[in-house]
């Protein structure tokens, strides 16, 4: 079992550009959550997807959007990138039946120049 996989591992963009990050959940998981971890900070919840719909959302602007596909994989899109969007973006997967089984991927390090 590959666990939660994220791609790419590193990404460099410039201000104003758009970026798409990808996540494949652990086998058997149907829920995907995204977190942003700025340098020296704890992860902050962006949003969560289940059954291809956004179920919960944190305090992030509409520039942050997402999608979940029928195979439960997910994408995080960020438009009009700002320098402050530079962070480690973590994907976590779980099953709606078992809250404690939350697995995190290794993350995508996004640098905005």
């Amino acid at each position: 079992d590959a666990g939660v996989t994220q791609s790419p591992t590193h990404l460099i963009k410039t201000r104003g550009q758009q970026v798409t990050l990808r996540c494949s959940p652990k086998s058997g998981h149907d829920t995907v959550s995204w977190y942003q971890q700025a340098l020296g900070q704890g992860p902050q919840f962006i949003f969560q997807y289940y059954e291809e719909e956004e179920r919960q959302r944190g305090n992030f602007p509409d520039r942050f959007s997402g999608h979940q596909f029928p195979n439960y994989s997910s994408e995080l899109n960020v438009n009009a990138l700002l320098l402050g969007d530079s962070a480690l973006y973590l994907c976590a997967s779980s099953s709606v039946k078992g809250y404690e089984k939350l697995f995190f991927g290794s993350g995508t390090q996004l640098s905005v120049l």
């Binding site: 939660v4 959550s33 977190y35 900070q41 704890g42 919840f45 289940y50 919960q56 995190f104 290794s106």
Partner: protein, 116 residues
């Protein structure tokens, strides 16, 4: 809404010495509590959790944490640390949800450095 405070950003400890990483939370509702560990260039790994029942919870690698409702704390302890325990430790809280996948609110983390 919930919040988590980790009082120490960095904790240096000599190898084989005991350690306590402090965590306090604030919430208007009942919560679940978690400790996650993050090794360099890796994602978060669940270390231990409190959902209900016994207030003392243990991990397989010797860490333990005690839920103290009156003090709203969930401090992490280990009686004897090893070099391999060097990592960033995050305390997290979530509300209870019928949905079963409530979002996590994390503290800012404590960097544990083991000194040989």
């Amino acid at each position: 809404a919930q919040s988590v405070t980790q009082l120490d950003s960095q904790v240096p400890v000599f190898e084989e010495a005991p350690v306590e990483l402090r965590c306090n939370y604030s919430s208007s509702v009942s919560v679940y509590l978690f400790w996650y560990v993050q090794y360099p260039n890796q994602g978060l790994q669940l270390l231990l959790k409190y959902l209900s029942g016994s207030t003392l919870v243990e991990s397989i690698n010797g860490f333990e944490a005690e839920f103290n409702k009156s003090q709203t704390s969930f401090h992490l302890r280990k009686p004897s640390v090893h070099i391999s325990d060097t990592a960033e430790y995050f305390c997290a809280v979530s509300g209870l949800s019928n949905f079963g996948n409530e979002k996590l609110t994390f503290g800012t983390g404590t960097r544990l450095t083991i000194i040989p």
